[in-house]
Symmetry: C2
Subunit: 263 residues, 2 copies
């Protein structure tokens, strides 16, 4: 009984990724992170599997340690937060340190800020800090407020403000090498997890190449469960979905099948 | 330019904590985690500082590695997810492995499930799995759906469904050793971060015992910034807040001061 069941979680040929959320405000409970689910969905859409996320405070050692752990392990790392003009914005300097390169004032970044602020007196030293970029990095466009993110190696450094981060990510996605499409179906029903668990486990055993998840819900006054099947082979996903719908019917439930992971 | 400014982030005498979110559904983007901000706020309320969070998939090796890293480093670790009846619920078995103890069918947990389900035929083997608890752990009450969480060492294992997790946490909080109250003030104003950054950095230097954060916002058609000051010495927090309000006024802004980290 001491050995957990092996849970298949195949990444197969799909590139992997991690997210590093940087900011005291997430850990203090002040701010609810909205970036992780957005990045997760966008990556899934191009066949990149998000495999880990971490949240660390605005502390140099914490940022560097987490970044090094993640960039050594996953295909892509996306950071959010800490690239603004204030004293607590230390992400760019930390990334430079992690990569062992100098943090330099980037001429193209300065030019973008000059265009954005117009009046040179507005482009003060604090704002110019946002043009400090690790040597060798390439800029990530910021169509909202000009101050760029950057890519260095497999690390993409983006803003924490959600609409800016989203715009940056839209620009980045075409640069990524995606993987085979991830196909998903959701079978929702008003059975309890415990009623279907045995059959679901047996189904997972027969479809070890798929990832089958079970998520209980309480909606509109009813308890139920959403069963999500994911994999790169659509015919296998569809076959498992049909089997699962049959199981739900046999147990007295009404399967509601949708494409995707919602539902 | 290659060395980031030291960012004070004093934990002082406050106990520290980490959160480990377990579940493929968070990394696939299917489910937005709602537990981290809730735990963060509750911990801050008793003077415990949340210092890190990680999200890992339902994979034994990932869960154990993350758990061991976090429990060795922080005073408390709170896990969410993976303690239900289905094949992808492997948290309890992983925690047992991490602690090197057997996973045992817990008599008290079985009794609670028996009371909850009433009809013995409903308490099938899948549901009984929820009574498998690492040896030596103490149970965490689940007033919603009976199946308990548990505490072992400095690790608190809780459900992933938010209302169940919240009820479990309410039961756990009185068991924790809290720390000195964390006092916070927020100064919001319609200045841009870049306008106030230099003065804010100088203020942080003078109040190295406080944590001062700067969070830009766009609300009701206006850009602005919320400046958050946190620390255990309320007189210092209040003094820094007054100085900051003065700075905002001098720069032509209108400081809106509130107690707490919101605003």
């Amino acid at each position: 009984m001491s050995s957990p069941a092996a849970t298949p979680n195949p990444t197969g040929p799909n590139p992997t990724a991690a997210v590093l959320v940087i900011g005291n405000e997430i850990l203090s409970g002040r701010t609810k992170d909205a970036n992780l689910p957005h990045i997760a969905e966008k990556l899934a859409g191009i066949g990149v599997r998000l495999r880990e996320a971490r949240v660390v405070p605005d502390v140099e050692e914490e940022i560097i340690t987490a970044l090094d752990a993640l960039r050594g392990r996953y295909g892509y790392v996306f950071t959010t937060g800490g690239i603004g003009p204030t004293h607590d914005d230390i992400t760019s300097a930390c990334v430079a340190k992690a990569f062992g390169v100098p943090l330099e004032r980037n001429a193209e970044a300065v030019a973008r800020l000059e265009r954005h602020y117009g009046d040179p007196s507005k482009l003060n030293e604090a704002r110019l800090r946002m043009a400090n970029i690790p040597a060798g990095a390439s800029l990530i466009d910021n169509p909202i407020s000009a101050a760029p993110g950057f890519r260095i190696g497999n690390v993409f450094v983006m803003a924490g403000v959600p609409n800016i981060m989203q715009a940056m990510l839209d620009g980045v996605l075409p640069q990524l090498e995606g993987g085979p499409d991830l196909h998903a179906r959701t079978v929702a029903c008003e059975l309890a997890e415990g009623q279907i668990a045995a059959d679901l486990g047996a189904l997972q055993d027969r479809y070890a190449d798929l990832e089958i998840g079970s998520y209980p819900y309480f909606r509109n006054g009813f308890f139920g469960v959403s069963l999500v099947l994911r994999g790169t082979d659509e015919t296998r996903v569809v076959a498992a979905t049909e089997e699962l719908a049959g199981i739900v019917l046999r147990l007295g439930g009404t399967p509601n099948v949708t494409v995707g992971t919602k539902g």
